[in-house]
Amino acid sequence: MSRRLPRPSVVFTIIVLLCLYAPIVIVVLYSVNKDEALLHWEGFTWKWYSQAFHDDDVRKAFGVSIQVAILSTLISLVIAVTAGLWWRRASRRARRAVDGLTFSRIVLPEVVFALGLFVLFRKLDIALGVGAIVVGHVVFISAYATIIIQTRLATMNDTLEEAAADLGASPWRVFRRVTLPALAPAVAVAALLSMTFSFDDVIASQFLGGPNAQTLPVLVLGKIRLHLTPEVNAIGVGLMVITLLSFTIAGLIAMLRPTGAGSVLGLGRRAR
Amino acid sequence: MSAGPTQAVSEPATGAAVDAGRTPAVALIGLRRAYGPVLAVDRVDLEIADGEFFSMIGPSGCGKTTTLRMIAGLVDPSEGRIEVRGRDITRVRAYKRPVNTVFQQYALFPHMTVFENVAFGLRERRVGRAEIATRVAEMLELVGLTGRERAKPAQLSGGQQQRVALARSLVLRPEVLLLDEPLGALDLKMRKQLQMQLKRVQHEVGITFVYVTHDQEEAFSMSDRVAIMQHGLIQQLGTPQDVYQRPVNEFVADFVGASNRRYGEVTGTSAAGYEVDLAGIGRVPAAGVAGMRPGQRVCALVRPESVELAPSASGWTTVSACVVDLSYLGPQVTCVLETPGDEQVTMSLRSGMIGALAVGDTCEIGWPHTALWALPADPQAEDAPAADAGAAPE
């Protein structure tokens, strides 16, 4: 039997929620506002969207973002799945050591390791660009993916695999026919989250992209800082829709199938 | 504690046990609680005497816990009044009421030690450090937990947790202690043990206990008086003996124990009270609920332990019957017999009384006239075959 809530806390919660949405709603409103100075509501327009759509910089940045997201996701998945399978059979001590490394890839300030990579690439004369961004993204994205896969594997029952082996399946066949199917939803969620994290990242993308490879968030950041035009709002809405969509899909999969992604979906979001 | 009237207990039972002129410890007046359209407590009028061990029993959903929580101040009544020692506390917040509760799952604070749990309420009352120490120690001794002060609740067994919860409430010396199925989470053996301890503690501290349980045996073994509840109403109020031997309706009769049941009608009066005509038995004397008229449909019952083998004395009703089943339960034997008209009767005997009786034997059985108890038949129950021991459909 729940005690009735004191009214003020409900009112307060509603105010907080309104505050959470107000800035987003304003960006959306600005993105369809005719007024170039963004001071008053001058009527509805799609022109900023069409301007953004025809902006070559935006198109190019979008291409870079997609490229980076796909590549870092693929590499992260390989790392996460192999690391997860290893982790499942590893000794407690080995696990602890590797868990520490995974954990520190998430908690270390991104500024620090992104700049470390920046220095390393300079030292080794490796050009900045899409490849360098991918390397940086994989460092932390693969850590999240690994946690998702490990969590799922930890709750998975060995019995099915033992039964398959008992029925004559080779280890590879066991993996293909039993382990992988059970892991598939977790892999799908890890993939979507990886793509989102990569797509949303600013710091590593900015430090490692160099002058020629600008991702969409980096472009937006530059536009906000240097020449703010209403077009930014339209690009921003586009960015929000993309990230929100992939999060929603990941969330739906996570809700319907066992994935071990609950903690990462909620808490692990890298937000720097 | 005076018992209710010997026979008729059907009038509203307020104040049955409270001496005139003395303020009751708890008085509930027209108490009602609705959840939307659902009436959890329909109307409860009740007075509980000072120092009484009072139990509310009934099946789940009967309103007993809601009533208790209204006394505790954890649920607001929709209507009615609650008084403790004559003071109206209906609108007093829970933390200011002079009553304390032992919760069903104990609700011990997991982050505090046993000592801190017991001291919780004293600290809220700004009792001095030294006094807290002595009172907590006293209380832990009373419940037999001296030495476990520094343990956390998670380190205690269920029985120990229950005793901490008891100590935590008692240490505040409440006017009334409310207990919400405090033994429900324990196994049978532990329960029996703690029942005795609860009774002893209540006797020692002399505080009024209001006890809620669905287990009538538990309630009977400890209580001075019980209230049997159903559908948010008190069905019967009285001493355990009263309720057991003189139930006012079929629900109470069923709830408090197994009985042999026959339907029939009142035909007249007798020395025992009434004369009733029962299916398969005929006209026999019976005691019963007051105020029934000749021609009224009745349900008559005899408890299995009132049925005896080969009775000879006068004042007994006898029938011949054939043994169809015998089950030995250690000290007791339950014997199922068939009376003429293919009706079954269950008889409960001490093992020594059974003699050479075997399945298939024919014998004489009977019961004292006053052991047959008649009450107004519930038309619905009469139609449906009852599943009770020994009760056979007409």
Partner: protein, 305 residues
């Protein structure tokens, strides 16, 4: 059973596991750790080691090349006004923002935790959805709101809370507002998880034993929600300390927080050794906080279990 193709050619190499000899099988099992370990060592540990080395090195003023050495000069330079200011400001701003998140988040989390099952889900979603939109754009949203002629100013004036103009954008307060806004969901979630687990019977018991609502909050709810409070503070405080994007947008051109100062040393000024020293100080602070929290949590655990 058949032998599969060599494991090295596959992304998923359990084929290696069934190699005949024990030694090889052991090796095969550990090959699974290779992609992860390799990437981590090459692109995470190595750059950090390089930064550590740099932080003790010197910069050739003419060529901008880093010369390795064992000087502590870079670390002592950290104590110079400008840098120590930025560091302290970052810590203070992060602490203040974390505390603000806790103050705002606690009642919200409590309300959610005490709502009906369905409502809880809806409210949690409402809290999380803004968090799932683009980080840059959300910060930009705050930029719009707290701007000099933005809605916040207008609201405050309309309510009569401020007389003249106040400037929030490009000030530490503005950055703080940005941090609170962006990280609030990270505070609410662990708080909710902790609060939701508290048995309502405990609150009833506290009330029954004579504790007023405020006392119940302090003596029962807060202690029991402590893991959630600590968790939320770590989730907000750690990334906030090294925050880079929010000060970039809401702090204007001024280098307000340590993250920006460090980045400037590398990207604008080109003083790698000093930047490395600053980065190491930030890393040390973050790690120290985490270890402290971890140690306390471990101790708490042994007490309760």
């Amino acid at each position: 059973m058949q032998t599969t193709r060599p494991a090295a050619a596959q992304t998923t190499p359990p084929g290696a596991e069934q190699a005949p000899s024990r030694a090889v099988r052991g090796l095969g099992r550990h090959t699974l750790a290779l992609p992860s370990l390799g990437w981590t060592v090459l692109f995470f540990v190595a750059p950090l080691v390089l930064l550590v080395l740099y932080s003790f090195g010197t910069r050739n003023v003419l060529t901008y090349e880093v010369e390795f050495g064992w000087t502590l000069q870079n670390y002592s330079d950290v104590w110079h006004g400008l840098y120590i200011d930025a560091l302290l400001r970052s810590l203070a701003l992060s602490a203040a923002a974390t505390f603000a998140c806790l103050l705002i988040g606690f009642p919200v989390a409590y309300t959610i935790a005490r709502a009906g099952r369905r409502m809880q889900l809806v409210l949690l979603l409402l809290v999380m959805v803004p968090f799932w939109t683009s980080f840059v754009v959300r910060t930009y949203g705050v930029f719009n709101v707290i701007g000099d002629r933005g809605p916040l100013q207008q609201l405050l004036k309309a309510l009569g809370l401020v007389g003249g103009d106040i400037h929030l954008l490009f000030t530490p307060v503005g950055v703080g507002i940005g941090i609170v806004y962006t990280y609030l969901p990270l505070m609410i979630l662990p708080l909710y998880v902790a609060l939701e687990r508290i048995d309502p019977a405990l609150l009833e018991a506290a009330s029954d034993l004579g504790a007023r609502p405020v006392r119940t909050l302090l003596r029962v709810i807060v202690p029991l929600a402590l893991p959630g409070i600590v968790g939320g503070c770590v989730l907000v405080g750690i990334p906030a300390t090294g925050e880079y994007v929010i000060p970039q947008i809401l702090g204007g051109g001024k280098t307000l927080m340590i993250g920006n100062v460090i980045a400037d040393q590398f990207l604008e000024i080109g003083d790698f050794p000093f930047g490395a020293a600053l980065a190491m100080v930030l890393t040390a602070i973050v790690m120290a906080i985490l270890l402290l929290v971890r140690a306390r949590a471990d101790r708490g655990e042994t007490v309760t279990s």
